[in-house]
Subunit: 342 residues, 2 copies
């Protein structure tokens, strides 16, 4: 990222709060000289953490006080109504005001989405924002959306998700005309429910590089760049995948710890294992984009550790530098006009 | 399994046909002395394969000729109408006639389900059969249904799936009151779509050991025994999981093949790796039960190899020996009556 970018960080969000978010911000400030960070939340606590990190004098980091915190299980409507000075809300207000170019939070997903929609509004032509993330594949990454913002979708929403996903991947990865697939239970035309069949018809008429239906295992094969589904299906797919990856990782650790012989084997095998498991480590993929808003908002996993949260800040910086919302607005206008004219 | 059981095997189904199904049947006959097998399909081809396996004189194996084969992509309605002497149809007819206690096929899932419903009919109280399989978990197995038979479900169907899953696990695994979870995008009561919220209300009133909502990663954690979802979500979850497991396996193989040093490491690490990867190998879990029919029908993956197809036959034998359809019928009657009275 070349142009100077400011990211506002909800320092209080997540399972741990400043104990994770502040060290992660320090790491990013040190490795990303073009990034400025506004740490939003309980100023006294944030300053204490900065001190503990020996980072009181990093010029890129500023602290912005906010007196409230949105609870991890707090209903979104309640958070919106009664937490107007929460770290999450203020981080997003700073984007709206133009003080920051992007906001990052590890807080409650529902509240973050509701606050993003309320404060920033959706882009013209987009009915509903979606949650999108990168996932590991055979030869790089696959991007997938929606991952849980919209549990009930109409076909037109899936078309909008496809457009947003395609634009984001094109501008973030430099891939010309990314391959877009629609998640289904089979690849034949007769497969699927009504919602998917209707969306398939809309996508076939769109100017996107639409390759048709894909199944769950294709996400990880490298033969599709953007996988589109409703938020219910996408969320289950993502979490099922994480569950299997975690199971395999745990079994490997236990397997190599079993006895003296396996421990000796582990000494030799560890570099290879670490390399492979790193490639599928959810922490490296932490940072889901709330696409469709008039501003960059990135959601970190609530349980993110320092490395994972730093990755979410990194992604927010990249999206802000690439001006993803503006690019989506331009392309949605262009593509949806084309789509409805076809 | 103690009582003598006969399994009819659609020898022509699957990507390979008799080249896989016949050797698998021979393996099972040799290791399962209480199991009789009827190999259904092109008798000449089956006999040639038996000969190649040195198995012409295994008394447990008999050949039953059928002149047609259902294509892997053939529409179910067409298969039902025009393939009345297909290996798949005849294998199921043999169950209906009482000649066999269970049928196994690696053929087209849609055609198998349609044929099963048409020939065997659904059990009283069950509107729709479902596809169910075991999956690896932290401390054993989790069973999941529906995996794709029903892409659009109502809440009552999800309740029926839960009842069938619970009964099957209780009788097959000997687990008293298995823990039943409903797949959702979060564990809080406000999460999910209307279908899931309605099903949750029905399940809470049922006499099942219902533990509430579970997320995708819980399938592999070992804290739930039966995971219920509609067929669209279940299919995507299963295939996403398979995709990740395959990606990790491939990356491990490549990682250990990279250079002389990693190949040396592989020599030492292979026993541990093989043991772990075996535990999550989809071939060991091959054999999905079509539950809710008046007879045992097990679907093998179309691409199953010898070991995987043998596993599907083994499962069919176990279910027949445990008289799973009769157990489901009894319990559905009991549980659904209780449920509607509550």
């Amino acid at each position: 990222m070349s142009r100077r970018v400011t990211v506002s960080v909800d320092a209080m969000g997540g399972d741990v709060g400043p104990g994770v978010t502040v060290p992660a911000a320090c790491d990013i400030a040190r490795t990303h000289p073009h990034l400025d960070l506004l740490l939003v939340g309980d100023a006294a606590r944030i300053h204490r953490e900065l001190e503990a990190q020996g980072a009181r004098h990093i010029k890129q980091i500023q602290v912005h006080h906010a007196s409230q915190v949105v609870g991890m299980d707090e209903p979104p409507a309640q958070a919106l109504r009664s937490k107007k000075d929460s770290s999450m809300r203020v981080a997003i207000d700073l984007v709206r005001a133009g003080t920051a170019d992007a906001a990052v939070s590890a807080g409650n997903t529902g509240a973050l989405m509701a606050t993003g929609r309320f404060v920033l509004k959706t882009l013209p032509g987009i009915d509903r924002p979606a949650i999108m993330t990168a996932l590991p594949s055979r030869n790089g990454h696959t991007h997938m959306l929606d991952l849980g913002a919209n549990v009930d979708c109409k076909a037109e929403h899936l078309l909008q998700f496809a457009v947003m996903g395609s634009v984001l991947v094109e501008h973030m990865s430099g891939l010309r005309r990314p391959r877009v697939g629609l998640l289904n239970v089979g690849q034949e035309a007769i497969k699927g429910n009504e919602q998917v069949k209707e969306a398939n018809a809309l996508l076939e008429r769109s100017p996107l590089n639409y390759i048709g239906y894909v199944e769950g295992d294709h996400i990880y094969c490298g033969d599709v760049d953007v996988v589109v589904s409703d938020g219910f299906v996408g969320n289950v797919s993502l979490k099922s995948s994480e569950g299997v990856a975690k199971l395999i990782t745990q079994l490997l650790k236990e397997g190599f710890r079993r006895n003296l012989l396996t421990r000796a084997a582990a000494l030799v095998a560890t570099p290879v294992l670490r390399n492979v498991l790193d490639q599928v480590d959810p922490r490296r993929y932490n940072g889901a984009s709330l696409v469709g808003l008039r501003g960059v908002v990135v959601k970190s996993h609530g349980g993110a550790d320092r490395m994972a949260f730093a990755n979410a800040i990194h992604i927010a910086g990249l999206e802000a530098a690439a001006r993803v919302p503006e690019r989506i607005a331009e392309s949605v206008h262009e593509l949806l006009r084309h789509g409805s004219a076809a």
